[in-house]
Amino acid sequence: MLNASLRQLSLLLSEKKISSTELTSEFLSRIKALNPDLNAFITIDEEKSLDQASAADQMIAAGRSTPLTGIPIAQKDIFCARGWLTTCGSKMLSNFVSPYDATVIERFDQAGMVNLGKTNMDEFAMGSSNETSYYGPVKNPWDRLAVPGGSSGGSACAVAARLAPVATGSDTGGSIRQPAALCGISGIKPTYGLVSRYGMIAFASSLDQGGPMAKSAEDLALLLNTMVGFDEHDSTSLQRAKENYAQDLEKPVNGLRIGLPKEFFAEGMSSDVSSAIEAALAEYRKLGATFVEVSLPNSKLAVPVYYVLAPAEASSNLSRFDGARYGYRTAQYSSLEDLYTKTRAEGFGEEVKRRILIGTYVLSHGYYDAYYLQAQKLRRLIAEDFRKAFEQCDLIMGPTTPTVAFNIGEKCDDPIQMYLSDIYTSTASLAGLPGMSIPAGFGSKNRPVGLHIIGNYFQEAQMLNVAHCYQQVTNWHELTPPENL
């Protein structure tokens, strides 16, 4: 049951071979046993989860169930959930019990899914290793010396270690795809604007996008069917006709034109990742896909552009944490100014403060044109590169990350090395394109490798189809960390 797909779980539930209460209890006891070491969850609340499970059982009994009713889901702690501690991985929100639901939470609640708990993450989603969390690092279940990736590291770990059947994540520069790759699971960041940002604590608003994390592409498709939808509470939410993302899963991929950006296959990628990716591409060749070399000449600028734009937007978004209305407040202060500066000095961790300082600097008087405006112009060049590339191909493939998971502590003192691990994912984020990562074997030390798939705008169904076909002929997505089962 721990390895069952959403479709299988749904069938077991609707045929009453298992109840949601039993299913939820099984995952809760697994969390209790394994979480003290893995640290994938910040908050678990058995009573709340079991209440939701019993409500789901009633929905099923009354014949009002959806394909997701009764199935547990782990929620990244960036999503506000009414009555749940919602910390965003920060001391600043370590006492914040959300008075309202994010739209993503509300949609899964309405479908009858059971919230299994809130997962660990880099503080305010700023990090690529889950080491900036106020609640401590998460371990990679494949190798507990390694990081799980970030910022959705807790969610990736929870799915990989089978502490939850599925989870949510959020992605600003790679925060769904990079941990999915490093933990050997599947994850998709949809086109910007498809998933509501309401109640998803803001980091860089022009880039932030929620998305699902799961074992397989098929599970991702079923979750997207519930997660995507127009929301009047989000000013950048897109109004589009409802789509069934599972509809084209089985379509043959023969004749598919896969673009391989020469810049992604150049220096920087380690040889173990390179051989895994070559092997994955060979599978696609067998399935009848063809390859075309494309070029993204400005992709080398993606990391510097990202590290101007994201901190700039973050410095503005995080100005709301002032110790006056909610969250942490310093114990001793002499004036309002003192209250602000001490609260923010004590409430934010080092990486978050560093990014606020970068963002404040690039937006400050006299520097705006040189940094922020220049980065926005380059963002257009990066998006244009993709537009041209998609004239020659249907979708783009490459590695999700340049290396497999590194060790916990290995890059803590070198933020630039950490930032450069976002090279492939941040390029697609800047253009607002959908991106996904699926397991594609193992590299050095038997740590997972992810295959990165970048689609054109709104081509999620096609990407899921292409990923699903690969998962029909390979079993990487079914493998589990050895010591667990």
Binding site: V97, T236, P304, G323, A345, K353, L357, I358
Partner: protein, 95 residues
Amino acid sequence: MTLSLDDIRRVAKLARIEISETDAQQNLVRLSGIFDLIEQMRAVDTQGIKPMSHSQDMVQRLREDIVTESDQRVLFQSVAPQVEDGYYLVPKVIE
């Protein structure tokens, strides 16, 4: 580009983050490295290119000017550090 300790102190003040001398020193080293990376971006000629502020070409959506939210003051203030008579309490700013 060279950052100075004064730059770090000025930016920290603008960001309303108290910063110790040690923190300022450490940030100077770290941020200088990050700005060296960012410098690569400034060398590119971008004359005539329209800045891209958003990935979708969209305009701000408008809605009818009608009340859509109910009063939830008590609920929202239940998570505040300090309130009194429905107000958020902060140190006095006007003598």
